[in-house]
Symmetry: C2
Subunit: 324 residues, 2 copies
């Protein structure tokens, strides 16, 4: 039987695991009523600290994230994991990812793990991760770890929306440059050199330290650079302690928080408008007629889009001016 949104929201707030899983799915799918449900969740969230974890493919992010989560649980924290999976638009990669990770830790008390396909997030990847973080937060998680491959712009936005950012490097990948290219170096709060049992780990630490030296501001507070080996467990406990310490650290400045809220409102609004536009014109003879004009070489996509936008622009600008 399908539960009502009200039941799901109450379930989540009351710590019911099945409600949690269902609510996340429905919100991700933008099922009718999702926004009202998120409004109801919103006041119950805001307590958990959200860590964005990123690094190049093959850096061992999943394994390390799992070990960190286990470490946090041992110290009494409850942990949500969101694994952003650049999955196949065709073959349902996220499901596979979920199943591959299940054996590890998903049955562990105090941990909830959720894969999020880049494709599946109807509301956009960044907003989707925000929504799921908030639901996990309202459920009672103390720390949310969002793990993503820091390559696509979307994924960088996800990480940037977190409270704290962890960048994972490994020896033998030219990671200094990889991290720089991905644009996450500048927003990292902690660097982890994973697979430190491998040759070259100290060189990677030195490379990162040098880059931080070069790029650091005059006030000079540099993010720590830590070494771990998910394989043999070295450094994990120290990393877990660092995460706990950071999660108890000061809140972000109000100006930054204001900027985040502004961005979220605009993103939500843009997405709504975009979905609306798509709905109206896609099920409307005018789009099909326009496509045929382009096919026949009588028009082009730029002209068509401009003609279509003019309707919205003319009308709504008159309206907003009237309201302002």
């Amino acid at each position: 039987m399908a539960k009502s949104w009200g039941d799901l929201v109450d379930g989540v707030k009351g710590g019911d695991l099945r409600s949690l899983a269902r609510m996340i799915t429905r919100v991700e799918n933008r099922a009718s009523g999702w926004k009202a449900a998120m409004k109801a969740i919103y006041p119950a969230a805001g307590r958990a600290r959200v860590f964005g974890i990123t690094g190049s493919p093959g850096a061992g992010k999943s394994t390390l994230t799992n070990k960190v989560a286990l470490g946090l649980v041992e110290k009494g924290f409850r942990v949500g994991i969101i694994a952003v999976d650049p999955s196949s638009p065709f073959s349902g990669g996220a499901l596979l990812g979920d199943r591959l990770r299940m054996g590890d830790i998903a049955t562990k008390e105090g941990i909830f793990i959720r894969s999020m396909a880049t494709r599946g997030a109807l509301g956009g990847l960044c907003q989707g991760a925000r929504d799921v973080s908030r639901i996990l937060d309202a459920y009672g998680m103390d720390i949310v770890l969002i793990e993503t491959v820091g390559v696509g712009q979307d994924e960088i936005e996800v990480v940037k929306a977190a409270d704290l950012v962890m960048v994972i490097c490994v020896p033998g990948q030219g990671d200094g440059i990889q991290a720089l290219k991905a644009g996450i170096m500048e927003i990292a709060d902690v660097f982890v050199v994973n697979k430190a049992d491998r040759e070259g780990a100290d060189e990677v630490v030195a490379d990162i330290s040098m880059m931080l030296e070069l790029s650091s501001e005059a006030d000079g507070k540099k993010p720590p650079v830590m070494k771990t080996s998910a394989l043999n467990g070295d450094g994990i406990e120290c990393l877990v302690d660092t995460i706990i310490e950071m999660s108890e650290g000061k809140q972000r400045p109000e100006a930054q928080e204001e900027e985040r809220i502004r961005e979220e409102i605009l993103l939500l609004l843009e997405r709504e408008v975009a979905l609306y536009v798509r709905k109206v014109w896609a099920h409307n003879g005018s789009l099909q007629a326009a496509v045929e004009q382009v096919l026949q070489g009588k028009s082009d996509p730029y002209t068509i889009a401009e003609e279509m936008i003019s309707v919205i622009r003319d009308r709504s600008s008159g309206e907003t001016r009237g309201k302002a």
Copy 2:
């Protein structure tokens, strides 16, 4: 002196290199008048074949793309390269990438290379790559190679918008699974196992062939799997010949072409609407007031976005119903 759009368009069509570079920059920046300029370019484009080239980081895409471009030029083709660079939003990675590649081939007659930052593309990465491809096409390029790291969803969309898709794998990265995860396996027209001088190349070829076997349709036309070594040049000439052959192959089916046009119109439209919305509300006291309400805990982003959208929706739906 700033050239007019008309001069730039004429310059591009007449094969003037400086006009080409300037026009691309202005269109990427969405400088006022960009759409009219693209309308003027549109009829002159449509002749070049566009290859999307993707693969995991470290697969040697850049080097291979350069070698392929040189091989094509030797056979009398003119080649445009668009390097989609998941660059830093802070440190201007794309510029760096440009400079790193310059020495190689950028001064070669018949080749034009352009980096496109995931961050820089104001119109969205996918549309940006489409626009630049069209300008290169109108300039007279026979083949456009769009090289991207196939990890983010944005980048997959870029590759999907190309006429033909090449997926590059390397030994020792578990690439069979990497490619599957990235969702490009299903849309590949040709697979290349690069760094074939390394151990394990034949295993990668076998892995890919097996996956293709498993996933192939009943009609059974499978994409070729080729081996190259950008290091010693093995297999490059054969790959170049394959690319030429494919570029002369049949056009895509009309239904598929129709779908692409529809998507492009909707994307352009969505982006226009989103930019418009952002402009109107960002420079408007109502957004700032809303942000403060959220900061003070009196409202939440979902409620605010919903209130804001209702204005556009109410007005424009009345209008489009009137028009339909």
